[in-house]
Structures are given as C-alpha cells and as structure tokens.
C-alpha cells in the first residue's frame, strides 16, 4: 500500500499524460505495448486499476509483469517476469496478426489531422531532413489491434497537418477511414496537454479534453493545424494521490535499478 503523505501532490504534465493514458486501459485487456511512454502508462495501469491486463512486448514477452520499467524492448526484466517468452516471428504471426490484441499502445514522432503516424523520416524519404528509427512493429499494431492508444508530447513539430511519411495508417491521408484493417485504429490520442479523439464521421482528430490548468488556446497553439474543439471540452480528472504514488514509486524503483 502507498503512503500518501510521502508524496508531493503537485504533479508534472508528463505525469498527467501518463496517468490519463493508464486510465484508458481496462482490466483484463490484452495490450501490445511500445517501449517508453506507453510502457510506463501500461504498467501504471497494471499496478493500479487493471491488475489483470495482459502486456505483450514485441520482443516476445507475453503476460509481462515488470517490477521496473524496461529501458529497452529486450530487457531481461521483461523475460524474467513474463508468463511466456516466444520468438519474434511468432509474436507477430500467432499473437498480433491472429487478432488476439485488444489494445495497441504506442507513440510516434509525428501525427496528423487524420491520426496517421510517422516514425520513418522528417522531410522526403530519399533525402530526409531527419532520419527517424523506422516502423518497427507499428504498422501492424495499428492495423491489427482492436484499437490503438497513441501517446506523445504536444508540439507543433509533432502535430502536423499531414505527416511527411505514413508509417502507420490512422484514417488515411484524406480521412477516408479504415478499409482493409482489422482494428478500429487510433481511438484516442493522449498528450501532455489534453486528449484528442477522431470525429466519428469525418475521422478528424478533435480536442475532447484538456488537463487541469491547460487553456484550449494553448493546445491550439501547439497544434500544426486548425484543431477542432469539442463542445464542451472536458477537464481531465487530476491524478489521485494513489496514482501518483504508484507512478513515482515505479519511476524511482526504475531509476535506482538502472543506475546500478
């Protein structure tokens, strides 16, 4: 149990983002998790309201219950605390492609008006301004998972009208939708400023919530297009002392372990 008094009840915008994302996971769901922000939020969910969430990492660990956050997709912590470990060809064929994943949980360098994701290049492919790491598992996670939760920090560089390269399709260049995909695609985008969701008919990302203390104007100024705003815009519930306590303990344990 967490000792609430031991924790400062102010919180950072990253903490707000992580807590908000973790709340989107439902207990018992099977979740394919990306490293970094998604992994932090997914494990917060597992350690708080969703103890039975099944976390799958693309390195092949299934039913993963890390005590500390992994720095890399292949940390030993993931293998040692998994129900089973399978090969990478198998995790993509027997587990992701087969449609066993309820929620894909990932980040990207760029996202656009229609929820398309870019993790390949900034600029043109042949002569890029910035060469990014590349697709990894993202295109098939976004295509095959039942739905996708996207997490990234809210900046004009990240939120662009149209991504330079469609690594993973959200709703298409023109918002045409999800034909040819098993899953519903990005149903929510969680940032350090608020929450976006695609319009049910036009698929255009719409601001549906802001975090406490964040003005809608601030979100708009950090978005590279004229962002649609829901009416009313909900204010996110601030992190509870328990959520913050569990998150900070997790982060502290992680720092301590990785500094050894």
């Amino acid at each position: 149990m967490v000792d609430l008094l031991s924790h400062d009840m102010t919180y950072t915008s990253d903490e707000m983002m992580t807590v908000t994302a973790s709340r989107k996971l439902v207990d018992g769901q099977v979740c394919f998790v990306g490293i970094g922000l998604p992994s932090e939020a997914a494990n917060l969910a597992r350690l708080s309201h969703a103890p039975n969430v099944v976390l799958i990492y693309e390195s092949g660990t299934i039913g993963t219950k890390p005590e500390i956050l992994p720095l890399s997709i292949g940390d030993g912590e993931l293998a040692e605390r998994a129900d089973l470990v399978v090969s990478v060809p198998e995790v993509f064929a027997y587990w992701l492609q087969a449609g066993r994943i309820d929620v894909g949980f990932l980040s990207a360098a760029q996202i656009d008006r229609f929820g398309n994701l870019n993790s390949t290049v900034v600029g043109c492919y042949e002569d890029p301004k910035v060469r990014l790491p590349g697709a990894g598992g993202a295109p098939e996670i976004v295509s095959s998972a039942g739905e996708v939760i996207v997490m990234l920090r809210h900046t004009e560089r990240a939120f662009v009208p149209s991504v330079d390269f469609v690594t993973s399709v959200g709703f298409g260049r023109q918002g045409e939708g999800r034909a040819g995909h098993a899953g519903a695609g990005p149903t929510v985008v969680i940032t350090d400023l608020g929450v976006l969701a695609p319009d049910p008919t036009t698929h255009e990302l719409t601001l549906v919530a802001t975090h406490p203390g964040v003005e809608v104007s601030e979100v708009l100024s950090h978005t590279g297009w004229d962002l649609l705003v829901a009416d009313p815009v909900v204010i996110t519930e601030p992190p509870t002392p328990e959520e913050l306590g569990i998150l900070r303990d997790l982060v502290a344990r992680t720092k301590e372990a990785h500094s050894r």
């Binding site: 390195s59 720095l71 030993g76 090969s87 060809p89 064929a93 301004k129 697709a135 098939e140 993973s168």
Partner: protein, 290 residues
Amino acid sequence: MAEFATLHDAIQDLVPDGATVAMEGFTHLIPFAAGHEMIRQGKKDLTLVRMTPDVIYDQMIGMGLARKLVFSWGGNPGVGSLHRFRDAVEHGYPAPLELEEHSHAGMAARYAAGASGLPFAVLRAYVGSDLVKHTEVASIHCPFTGEELAAVPALNPDVAVIHAQQADRQGNVGMWGITGVQREAVLGARKAIVTVEEIVDELSHRGPNNVVLPSWTVAVVACVPHGSHPSYSMGYSTRDNAFYTEWDLISRDRDLFARWIEAFVIGTEDHAAYLSAISAQPQGKEALGG
C-alpha cells in the same frame, strides 16, 4: 558439425567483403565482439541485415563497412538516434548507405520464410503504409477466399552471426531469454557463426524460452566471454546502460567517434583487450578528451 575457432579466424574465413551478413539480436545477446572484429579486419561493401540495428551497426556503418542496410527499426534502444547511421543516410558520411526497409512483421516473416526454404512469406501487413512505395512488397490473393494479403521475399543471408550463452563440446548451441529472430537467422543463412559466453559439458537450459541450435546447423562456434558487451547475456552479464547513454555523445561527433573506435576497437587486438580497455577507462568520452 560445428567447428571451434577463434573469433578472428571465424570472421576472416566466413565473412568475405561484399557478403550479406545478419547479426541478429533483440537488445539481448547482441554480437558486439563479432562486429568489432569485422571493423578490425576492415571488411568492405557488406550488406547488413537486422530487424533492430543498434550501436554495433552504428559503429560498423560509421566505419564505412556497409554498402546497404536491410532493417525495420534503427535506434539506440532507450536512448534515441543512431548518429552514425543518420549521418550516413542524411549526409552520405562516410559513405552513402542504401536502405531496404520493412516493418518488424515483414522482416520476421522474411526470416521465417528463409528458415523454411520458401521463396516468400504471406502476411497481413503494410496496408496503407508508405513503406510499400519504398520496399519490395507484393500483393497476393488467397486461392480459397480471394482475400488480398501482402507477400515479402525470403531472407537468406550469406552469413548469420549471433551470440549465445552456451555451446557444449559437440558444438550444440544453447540460449534462453529473449531470442528474437536469431534461430530463423541461423537456419535461413548459408553459414552461421555463433559466439558464446561459455563452453559447457552439458547445456544448462536455464530458461525461460530455452532454444537449442544443433551443432550441424552451425559452421563455427567461438568462445568469447562477454562477447555481447555493452548488451547483455542473461545469466552471464547485465546490460551496460551507461555505455548506451554515453554512445549518444560519442557518436554525435565524427572525430570523437573515430578516436573512440581507434582507441577501443582498432587499437585492441581482440575482445579481451577491448574489455580491459573499457573497464580501465569506463568514461570513454572523457578519456578521449571529448
């Protein structure tokens, strides 16, 4: 049956210039020592294949060993960019690098097809992704349902290089933990080099996920303790996370990178010498006045 040899001889005999080489690993069991030996021997015009090229490929690309990279995700795990890889792609330094780029699902299926003796693999992938405009993906229809799916060509590297925990005295290889696509890389390759932490009388199968590669599927086994540093070998070593962070600084600067390679790789005669150099000067960057 696998032969036992020194890493030097294995790389010299089995990795000709121009070869297509897959050095696999999913942040665990990365064959760093083998990559360093290729740098020492000045291999040229290599086509490097790997799902997750990381620091060892950054070093090889930075030294101009590679003509082409076949991959699906290239980064410094948990840290960020591969600056030598970016410098090659963005500025052609020290040489242009041709890219053959896939998703993880596509690369994994290509390796599995290679290990199965099939010319291609079928999968649900690439729908709507711009990747299809820049890589070799075909569409194929199910002869029974008519459904359209993606097809990717099999991967059959000339040489696969992996690092494992153990080999027994007959050359059977044992590994456990996260083993990524290493088995498929070895079974799909024409020849395989395996560096191991230890030669044992009997494989200990410490699991999870015990994998055995029979001796007759491996060309050469070389015993190279800590051959995965700064990566790790479950049961033998832990990941040197500080090194990966430091690499971000070293690799940002062309000269600092060159001096680091000179001091720690080219300047060391083998992996044992590399390890003592690293442990003597853990802060490689400061040591080089970077």
